[in-house]
């Protein structure tokens, strides 16, 4: 498994996707820095209408929430491009067969590819999240209430997306798989937004739809939990002000989220291994 993981890592480092994602990331961080600088220039001149609202906290949490969305999106691009053709795509190109006839179980190959993709994407989102956090702090002196927890939650969220994309690569052609995973990503985020709207409107139906989708696509629940964690210890009027913002309705992690995520990864992995074992190549 480690041989496959190391080989997949080496291969991924040589792919152009890293150049593309690297350039996108630099562009994003540069724009984020510019936006944050401009935002806090305004915030410094801003007098809150309600006493007790910490404007830098509200602004910092909001713009870092936006950065977390971008980070998850970039991590998803990376995860999808590293895994979308891992099985069927590589088999169609004739890359997989020489490896499959070696004394390895097919599930070992899947596990190696997953480790490599989840590892690379996990490190990537942690680094980008921390970079965005440092940029925010540099312009505002605001630091999120928790740093390690949301970083880990984002990393696990892209691991879930990597697993889904890898499983999809067993049954779908590369392009179809890429489209399918991005649609799942979009569905998850849409459900999250519906949940926030549902909370604002006190709609139980929307809340329920959002909850169900969050369990079906736990990367969304992890993202929500990461958003909630950056202001986990912010209370009072500042809390109320954050709740009114675009990321204010984020749900914190329920006790079942971590066990469910582990079980979910195991289920997706088992399903992928089952389908791969039966696939003619």
């Amino acid at each position: 498994m480690w041989i496959i993981a190391v080989f997949a890592l080496r291969e991924s480092l040589r792919r152009r996707v890293f150049l593309v994602v690297g350039l996108l990331t630099l562009g994003f961080l540069a724009l984020y820095g510019l936006g944050t600088w401009q935002l806090f220039k305004s915030v410094d001149e801003f007098e809150p209408a309600i006493e007790g609202v910490e404007a830098p906290t509200v602004a910092g949490a909001t713009i870092l929430g936006l950065a977390m969305f971008a980070t998850l999106f970039l991590g998803t691009i990376l995860a999808v491009f590293l895994t979308l053709g891992a099985v069927r795509g590589d088999a169609e190109r004739g890359l997989l067969q020489p490896v499959l006839v070696r004394p390895l179980r097919r599930r070992t190959i899947l596990a190696g590819r997953f480790l490599a993709a989840a590892g690379v994407c996990g490190v990537y989102v942690v680094v980008v999240f921390l970079a965005a956090t440092v940029i925010t702090w540099a312009f505002s002196d605001w630091w999120p209430d928790r740093t390690v927890q949301p970083a880990i939650q984002l990393a696990v969220a892209v691991a879930v997306i990597s697993a889904l994309s890898l499983a999809g690569s067993v049954v779908l052609a590369a392009t179809a798989n890429g489209i399918a995973v991005f649609m799942l990503f979009g569905a998850g985020l849409t459900a999250g937004l519906l949940g926030q709207i549902g909370e604002a409107l006190s709609s139980r139906t929307l809340d329920r739809v959002s909850d169900i989708v969050s369990w079906v696509l736990p990367f969304e629940a992890l993202y929500q939990a990461a958003l909630a964690a950056i202001t986990a210890e912010t209370f009072g009027f500042t809390r109320l002000a954050i709740n009114l913002g675009p990321f204010g309705g984020a749900e914190s992690a329920s006790p079942g989220l971590w066990p469910w995520t582990v079980a979910y990864l195991a289920l997706v992995g088992a399903g992928a291994a089952w389908a791969f074992a039966r696939r003619d190549l």
Binding site: L95, V99, V101, R102, P103
Partner: protein, 278 residues
Amino acid sequence: MDTALQAVDVRKSYGSIQALKGVSLEVGEGELVGLLGPNGAGKSTLVKIACGLVRPSDGTASIAGEPAGSPAAHRALGYLAELFRFPDWLSADELLGMHQQLAGSDGGSRERMRLLDLVGLADAAAMRVGAMSKGMQQRLGIAQAMVGGPRLLLLDEPTSALDPAGRRTVRRLLEELRGQGVAVLLNSHLLSEVELVCDRVAIIARGELVAAGTPDQLSRAGGVEVETSGGTRLFEQASREDAPQIVRDLVAAGEDVYEVRVLRSSLEDAYLEAVGEA
């Protein structure tokens, strides 16, 4: 003779299409068997079943006594696919190194250099796969298949991209491997090559094994042709043993004999007859 590959009544269906309709085939240790057949006959499917890349619908296949597709079977197996590709950023040496790790071979750089030398790529160890010609990649593919010293090599069209010199190199290599006791199943369209190098030939058509035997057994006597002062005479029913008497009779009849040829149908004739295209 121990069996390197044994396929028993192997069937494979893709929906309503029957790619294999009960093929049985054995390849003994150190035996070189050619697998012939027209496009779509089921040759590659049979090879892939032996490799464990395709699951048979029915029947069994085993490699050195182990079920095809199991890690134990893969340990005894080397495979070169008809359509293969290696990561173009790896050098030849790195590629073989990776396959050594995957195969659990402890041969190290000595094995890698020996294999590259065997396929005529000793000077290309540091060359990236992406910079190699198709023929060089095919030879590298053969070297890759031999990593770990397999007991059975399954080669699917291994010389399709090679020039005549490359084909000769591979022929010599196959003969050397046979001498070392390695069994080879050679799937090829090049009948002359199969005829030259294989101990036995199996012909598959429409998913069935339609003929099998040594090249000599498959090619039949085709008569005796004699060039005389009166022209070329063909004795269709005659065999090699009849040739002296034919010459004596012709000379006695006053004809000058310039050349005598004992005719045999070629493997190509036997092949075309077997697949029904004669």
